[in-house]
Subunit: 131 residues, 2 copies
DNA sequence: CAGCATCCATGTAGATACTG
DNA sequence: CAGTATCTACATGGATGCTG
């Protein structure tokens, strides 16, 4: 029985600076991918609807993130080639497998952010009050 | 008293730009927190060992991330106040609850990065080859 | 509607040197 | 050993205007 499992040792893990899993982690942990992927898990969504449902994202970052997700095989882009343009984004099977863990992360944030805010308050109080 | 606010839609979710859960998500999804938290889940770790085990992190980013995690109630800092200094970091219960989802994310990256690399290859091929 | 190009402000992160 | 301080390079990301 290993107390330090394969998580922390050797090649092929996220703790190795040169392992590509680092880059993968950076992609899937990026600010907007964290929101886009779980949203696409429900059903295919168009560019414009993504803009509306993800508050605060810019067209630039949306396209940029979608492209990167597409490039990594997590998202498929379907251009209906109509006028006016109609482009749908949907998850690949690989994207769905990722989404199932990302939704858990999103829900963790939604459920626990009050605790984080409370902790921040206490911490900042102690900071200003210590002598 | 409601300890768990509405989680479903509208306010209180990560898709609302003004919701603090966005900031929470940014913290827990940050490059280094993604690595530090699961590592601390195993057992308390000292600063120096974190530096060694997390390849590529700088002292600055390590301290900075640990501080932010501490401020948000995810990590506890134990200063033994000895000479030479001996400081241990460990997860709080809240931190452990987060860690259980982060380890899944880390493992996803480790398991699927070959698929991402393959997709990148195909995508880049198609890019340069399309007409 | 979808998206690209450009400019520009800010944030992030590394290197280095110094301190309790 | 465990930080802090400072400076700087670079990436991130927003605003705007234009195109198919």
């Amino acid at each position: 029985m290993k107390t330090t499992p394969e998580l922390s040792a050797g090649q092929g893990d996220v703790y190795s600076a040169n392992c590509p899993s680092r880059a993968a982690l950076a992609l899937i942990g990026s600010k907007w991918a964290l929101l886009i992927v779980p949203l696409l898990a429900e059903q295919p969504v168009r560019n414009n609807e993504l803009m509306r449902r993800i508050e605060g994202i810019s067209q630039k970052m949306l396209t940029q993130t979608l492209r990167e997700l597409e490039r990594n095989g997590l998202v498929e882009r379907h251009d209906h080639r109509t006028v006016p343009p109609h482009v749908e984004y949907r998850l690949t099977p690989l994207g769905h497998s990722l989404s199932s863990t990302l939704v858990v992360l999103d829900r963790w944030a939604e459920q626990h952010y009050p605790a984080l805010l409370a902790a921040q308050h206490d911490f900042d109080q102690a900071e200003s009050g210590d002598s």
